[in-house]
Structures are given as C-alpha cells and as structure tokens.
C-alpha cells in the first residue's frame, strides 16, 4: 500500500469562496443593515435576522427577558393571530428557529426561494407589530421554565456553567444567565416587555442576512418594501458597565446526586473583535480539538483523569470568558484533574506550542471554515456574525489569511495573557454524600 510521509503539513492556501464577489450589502434609510449572498446550489434561501440584544442588555429583575422575547416573537402580531407566523411559513415550505446569547438574539428561517416575499413580510410584521397577549405571556413562561429545567436544572454542565458565569462577573451584565433566573422568569411585567421591544427591535438595531437562490437586487427591493416603512428609534443606551480587574481565582462548588464529576475553568478573555482573535481560536484548537490535542492526550488518553475535554471562547461585544471543561470518570478527584490541567497549561505558557501543533490547528480551522461555507445556512450565519461582531462583514473573507499569519509566538502570548490562574473562575460539580439504600 502506498504511504504518504509527512511531517508538518503546510497550511492550505484558500481560493476565494464561489459567489463571494456577488455579495451585496446595503443600509436602509431607517438604519437597518441588509447583506445578500446569492448561491444557486439548491432552490432555497437561508435568512438570519440579528438583533443586537442579549442578556447583556438586561438588569437585575428582568434577567432572561431577551431570551423570552425570542419566544414571544412567534406569538402573534397586531395583524396576525398567534400561530399564524408558523402556520403560514410551514404551509409554504419554510421552517424556522431562533437563539439568544449574552450579546444577540438571532432569528433563522430556511425556505424555498418561492416563499421569499412571504417570509420577509412575516419577519417585518413581527418587528413592527408584535402583540402582547397576556394569556400567551403566561403560557410562554411555562415553556421557558421547561427549557430551563432541560438545559440548566437537570443538566450538570448547564447548571455549573450558570453558577460559574455568575461568579466570574461582579459588575458586567455577562453575569446574568441568558435563560434568566427562575424568579425573574415568573415576574416580568408587560411594561418590561414593551420597553425592551421598542428599544431593541428597532430597524437600526438589526442586521438581516440572506444566502441562497435569489437575485440580490430583487431581494433588496423586497426587503425595502417590508422593512423600510418601520421607523428608526433612538439607539439603545450603550452598555457602560466595565468589569473591574479580577484579583484572584474564584471557586464555585456544587454537590448533587451524580456519578460523574464536572470541572469547568472560565478565564477572562478579550471581546470578539480583538486583534488576537485568530490566535485565540488556534490556541483553543491546539488545546482541545481532536484526539491529537494537548489536553485530550494528557488528560483523557495518558492520565485518564477525564473522559472528555471541551471548551469554547465566548466571543461577544465586551471582554468575556474562555471556557475549558472536563467530564471526569466516576470516583475521580476533581482536584487531581484540575492539577493535571494546570500542569499542561503551564507547559504551554512556558514553552509554547510546536510548529506541527500550529499547522494542525490552522488546517483544522481552514477545513472548519469551508464546512461552514458549504451550506446556505452557514453563509447566512457567518455574514451575520461578522457584520455584528467585527468592524465589517467582508472580514469574513479574510479569515483564511488571518489564520495563515498567526505565529507560535503569538499563541504563547495569548496563552500567557489569558490562562492565568488569578484570572479564572473554577467550577466543580461533584457527587453528594451517598444516600443509604432505602432512602435512594
């Protein structure tokens, strides 16, 4: 059998993605940003409506409101009864979803291109005319409570992350859980909802992206027809809170009836638009992406202190968190796992990463970039992400070049800057003392 001998595989030089030169962007008279990417692979369109509102825009007492809005946006307008949005969209072949983060709320539709006008009309209608039916608000509180039980109360990773994030920030609203504290979910008033809607669901606070089987000029004309009549509002007040520098490590401990302990470390990290973003992505990849990564090898394969290593950088408008998390085998001491993690991180800070590791991370990032660009959903999402969190959407197309420029020294630099013990909050979730058999 033929063998391929390779040491460090050189980074792939990427051609420009097909169709990117056709991307058409425009700002409507009311300040709404529209970006259209025509691709004709399949007869469908993916739409993203990015709202610059997340739990970052909340205050104590109304936590979870941005996420609650994500639910209420499906519950009827002054011109359409509750349920009509989904009924009409599905009857024309469309499906939809939405998600909320610390920073944004994003509405997503996927539909045959023949339904473009209907979908734009439906989206504009709920931005302009949302109704607040008291009975539906109550019913939707129940749905959100169910979602919270699923993602937080009955999920050890979700529960621990919520408490870690609340401890990591003392001043900045990133301390609020996006789904909201249970007491707040029960307590919002109609006025809270109305004020939030007027402020944040204004066209000047929105970015609309479309990717798929459409003609950009016609698409923009339709967007203008339905969205341009919506009046701009005074821009939302900027989030002024700045998190004071962290002085020392913080720790959160939870004990409950579980078999497998969980350890999470959340390090203070820069905002999404930071110039070190590519280096941070590559550092994360070196640490925990795939079976060849540092932490997987050391903690899962060699020391066997974890069954899984994960992590992500929460990229937002403001400096946020970089997470590393470990799921441990039963009866493993979380402190031993944490010590082993620390030893690996210290090694990266001290001696950096190898060229082989850097090229591996770079190649994984390039393939990841192409995988996302392989679908209209990925294209619509990436355009929105870059338009909202970066100075300009076109930076999306420079991602491969930025990855190519990152050096080993830069990786060591961001490791030293971010992975400091004093800058982190550690969460440990471990089994409660065992119950006796007849109690269990």
């Amino acid at each position: 059998m033929r063998r391929t001998a390779r040491a460090a595989i050189p980074a792939f030089r990427a051609p420009a993605p097909a169709g990117s030169e056709d991307v058409h962007a425009q700002v409507l008279a009311n300040g709404m940003q529209v970006i259209v990417w025509p691709v004709h692979q399949i007869p469908n369109v993916a739409l993203n409506l990015w709202v610059r509102a997340g739990s970052r825009n909340e205050r104590p007492g109304i936590t979870g409101l941005a996420h609650f809005f994500e639910h209420m946006m499906f519950n009827g307008t002054r011109t359409r009864a509750p349920g009509e949005f989904d009924r009409l969209m599905e009857a024309r072949g469309g499906a939809n979803n939405a998600f909320t983060s610390d920073d944004v709320t994003v509405y997503e539709d996927w539909f045959p291109s023949s339904a473009l006008e209907l979908v734009l009309e439906l989206e504009a209608d709920r931005v302009a005319n949302l109704a607040f039916v008291p009975q539906l608000i109550e019913s939707e509180r129940g749905v959100v409570a169910s979602e919270r039980r699923l993602r937080v109360e009955d999920n050890n990773h979700g529960l621990l992350a919520e408490r870690v994030q609340a401890a990591a920030f003392t001043e900045h609203p990133y301390r609020f859980p996006t789904i909201g504290w249970p007491e707040d979910i029960r307590a919002w008033r109609l006025e809270d909802l109305q004020a939030f809607y007027t402020t944040y669901y204004a066209p000047n606070n929105l970015t609309l992206t479309l990717a798929g089987d459409l003609d950009p000029r016609q698409a923009v004309q339709l967007v203008r027809r339905y969205f341009e009549p919506i009046a701009a509002q005074a821009p939302p007040a900027p989030v002024r809170e700045r998190e004071p520098p962290q002085q020392a490590e913080r720790r959160v401990k939870i004990r409950r009836q579980v078999q497998t302990p969980v350890v999470q470390c959340a390090y203070k990290a820069p905002a999404a638009a930071d110039e070190s973003a590519s280096a941070i992505h590559l550092l994360m990849s070196v640490l925990m992406e795939g079976d060849a990564s540092r932490l997987h090898r050391a903690l899962v394969e060699e020391r066997r202190l974890a069954i899984e290593v994960g992590g992500h950088w929460q990229e937002g408008f403001d400096p946020g968190l970089l997470w590393l998390s470990l799921t441990l085998p039963q009866h493993t001491d979380p402190h031993a796992a944490l010590a082993a993690l620390d030893a690996e991180l210290a090694r990266v800070i001290e001696t950096g990463v190898t060229q082989v590791e850097l090229e591996r991370a770079r190649n994984l990032a390039i393939v990841g970039f192409w995988k996302r660009l392989a679908t209209i959903d990925g294209k619509a999402h990436l355009l929105g992400e870059y338009a909202v969190f970066h100075p300009h959407w076109s930076e999306l197309f420079e991602a491969p070049q930025r990855l190519a420029a990152v050096t080993r020294e830069q990786l060591r630099g961001v490791a030293a800057e971010i992975l400091a013990v004093s800058q982190r909050t550690v969460g440990i979730l471990a089994p409660a003392a065992r119950r006796t058999k007849d109690q269990g």
């Binding site: 009857a91 109550e138 009955d154 079976d291 899962v300 039963q330 591996r360 990841g368 392989a374 269990g440």
Partner: protein, 443 residues
C-alpha cells in the same frame, strides 16, 4: 428540483460497492462508508461489541499507532470517525480535496489493517461505561430509546443497546472485538461513497488497489422479523431529584422498504414532525407544558419503531402523557384533511433540498439507499410520490403504521417518588433505577 447528481457506481468482483460523486463548490472531499453488521450481530450476552470495534478503528491502523493516526488525520485538518448503528458500522470522513490520497490510505488501513490493540480496547471500554454514566447524569433523554427498544423488541437483536450497557460492556472481552472483525469485516459488507472535489480516475484506481483483493466476511448476516408485542405497559425509571420527567411512547412501526413512505412522512409531519404539529400544538403551543413534543419513525431493514417524545415538569407527568395519547387517538379517529396534507407536502418539499446540499449529505444519502437497496428513484421520485398522497392514502398509513393508544409501550424517566402514583392508570408499571447498569428490566 432535487435529483441525484451524476455519479459512478462500481461493484468490484468481490462484491464491494463503490460510488464516486464529483461536486466542487468547496475544496472538500467527503466519504461515507457502511459495513453491514452493527449491534444486531453482537453476542446477545454482550451487546456493545460493534460499537467498540467502530471506536477502535481510529485507534491505530497499518503502520500508525493511535496517536500517529490522530496526527495524520488532524494534521491535515481532516476528520475521521466511525460509529456503530443497529445494522452497520458507519464511517464518516472529510478532508481537503488535496488530501484525497491520504484519506483513502487511512480508510484502507482502517478497514483492512486495524490494530485493535488490547490496551486501547480496555481504555475505550472503560471510557464508554463512564460516558453512559455521564449521559445519565445530564441528558438521560438521550438513552430513552435504548430503554424503549429493549422492551419493544424483547427477544430480537433490535432490542440490544447499540452502544452497550454499563453491565454488558463490563462483560465484553478483547476476544469479542477480534472475533467481530474476523467474522464481520469483508468486501461483501462494504459500501463506500466518495463525494466532493474529487479526482475520479485516481480515486477509482486507489479504491481498486485497496479493496479489490479483500476477501468476503466469514459469515453472512440474517435477521428475522421481531415478534409482535401486545398490550400497554409502563417502564418507570427513577431519577431522584430530577426537575422534569422525560417520556417516550413507542410501538412497532414499519420497515425501511415500506411502500407508502411519502404518505407516512406527511402524516408524521402533521402529527409530530414540525413546530405546528398536533403534538407540539397540544403540549407546547396551547398549554405551555413543555418546551417541545415530537414523533418519528425509525425504520430498519426488517422492522421499525414509532415513538413520541417529550418532557414535562414532574407534577404534570400524567397530564402530559394523557394529552399525547389523546392526540394519537384523534389522529387515528379523524385522519387528516386534504388541506393539512397540502401544507405538509409544501413543508416537506421545501425542506427536502436543505438535507441534500453538501457533498457529505450526498455521500450519506447514497450510502443509505445502497444499503437498503432502494434505488435512486427513492430520491428522484419522492416529490412525485408526495404529490399523489390524498386523505385516503393518509388513512391507510394511519391504520397500518400508527399504533392505537392501547398498543403503546411507555418509558418514563423521572423522580419516581413524586410521579409513581400517577402512572398506574396507563398499565402495569415496571420499576427500574437510572443507575441500574442495564437498559432492559430484569425478567
């Protein structure tokens, strides 16, 4: 409309099936391999062998040990992973197009010269047991099908947990893994699809060089039809302190070659397959009881299952189960109207192309139709079949494939101390604990 793209299909002399499909939107190459076998050929006393074999395939092959293998894959930015299903081991891989040669080399090594080392086996087995515990701790709903299938198909290989149970994994020896490879790997079991930015002539050459002399597997697989089950029963799995109850309402369904698939898809879309479905309307939209409720069919080569899934606050468990059963009774009684079918048809067609967008999507779809012997008309003629479905055709599949509310098996995972009393009305209750190391209740 969606049609299967031009592709090349080869059957090598030894029976291996190879499909090559060029597609060049992005500089990626996707591969989907199916090897007949899977958990249905696991020893009845030790399900989970196929799953461990699949996991071991990427833990060293040919001249590479586990680390060198991972380094070869990830160093090129690629991905490579195998996972067992009930009737096959599926291997998926994606690389940059420039690495076609490397991808095929790794694939050939994996299938023909996997190392299956004892030490890697021991570690994977231990890790798999811990994974089950971790899922029980945080996402028990992921395991609800395994409990359901153990009851629904008791006595048949479909009842076996695909990834094993904590107890069965403990019983698996390294010899089981070697035996699985010896008897269940071979050219006649192989379906290999390469799709993407492909050098088709080189791919054909490399595939022939790698697999043309591969012998057939030592045994042939046969799978009987599972016995039918009668009467309603309830399996209650105690998860102390759980804030929410997960429930699964299942029944035998239909197999993969069921003739009325288009009608089946449309009726399920209306019943529990989309946001405005009857089930989700009852449990979420109208009542606010749950974040979501869905139904679906899993269709294997000789049988299949129908299941409803949802979750609800502990105190409202019985109420939610009632609502789901009532929705099922209403479907059975009232059927669906022409107007409802028109909406479901538009929805199904409108979403169809989104699942067949990338080279990896096509690789998976072509491997699947090859595996079940469905032919490309399964994809090309689907829109025409959807167009033919009228309320009478829908009525037929409701009668044939959807159970009555009296024929279902219920699996409930939740805090038994707080819900136990609510369930007696649904049928005889069997009790287990979530920490029990098996998915099947003791006989």
């Amino acid at each position: 409309m969606v049609r299967v793209p031009e592709h090349e299909r080869l059957v090598l002399d030894n029976g291996a099936t190879v499909i090559l499909l060029p597609r060049r939107e992005v500089p990626l190459l996707a591969c989907q391999v199916l090897l007949r076998g899977g958990s249905v050929v696991d020893p009845p006393a030790a399900p989970g062998v196929a799953s461990l074999v699949a996991a071991l395939l990427e833990k060293g092959a040919g001249e590479r040990d586990a680390y060198a293998f991972a380094e070869a894959v990830e160093g090129a930015g690629g991905s490579f992973g195998a996972v067992a299903g009930p009737e096959a081991i599926a291997l998926r891989s994606q690389f940059l197009a420039r690495d076609q040669g490397l991808m095929l080399e790794l694939l050939a090594d994996t299938l023909r010269e996997p190392r299956l080392e004892a030490e890697e086996f021991e570690h994977l087995r231990a890790r798999q047991i811990e994974f089950i515990k971790a899922v029980k701790d945080s996402e028990p709903a992921e395991l609800i099908d395994a409990y359901g299938r153990a009851l629904l198909f008791a006595g048949h290989p479909y009842a076996q947990p695909v990834h094993g149970s904590e107890a069965s994994l403990g019983r698996i020896a390294h010899a089981h893994v070697l035996d699985y490879y010896r008897t269940n790997f071979g050219a006649d079991r192989l379906i290999l699809v390469l799709a993407g930015d492909l050098d088709i002539h080189r791919a054909e050459h490399d595939v022939r060089a790698a697999f043309a002399d591969w012998p057939n597997a030592a045994v042939r697989t046969t799978l009987g039809v599972p016995p039918s089950q009668a009467g309603r029963r309830v399996l209650l799995i105690d998860a102390p302190e759980a804030a929410q109850t997960h429930f699964w309402i299942g029944a035998p369904g239909v197999d993969r070659r069921y003739a009325h698939r288009a009608a089946l898809d449309l009726v399920n879309t209306l019943f529990g397959g989309r946001f405005t479905s009857l089930l989700n309307a009852e449990l979420r939209i109208k009542s606010g009881l749950s974040y979501g409720a869905r139904s679906g069919f899993v269709r294997g080569s000789v049988a299949g299952e129908f299941a409803i899934r949802s979750f609800v606050e502990t105190a409202k468990t019985a109420r939610a189960i009632h609502m789901a059963l009532q929705a099922l009774e209403r479907l059975r009684r009232d059927g669906v109207s022409a107007e409802m079918l028109a909406s479901a048809r538009a929805y199904t067609l409108g979403q169809y192309a989104l699942g067949l967008e990338t080279a990896a999507d096509w690789a998976a779809a072509l491997a699947d139709i090859e595996f079940f012997g469905l032919g490309t008309s399964y994809i090309d003629e689907y829109p025409a079949r959807l167009a033919e479905v009228d309320p009478q055709a829908a009525r037929r599949v409701i009668d044939e494939a959807f159970p009555t509310s009296e024929q279902v098996t219920l699996v409930v995972i939740g805090d038994a101390a707080r819900i136990g009393g609510q369930l007696g009305e649904f049928g005889p209750v069997i009790n287990m604990r979530l920490t029990d190391p098996e998915f099947a209740p003791p006989i």
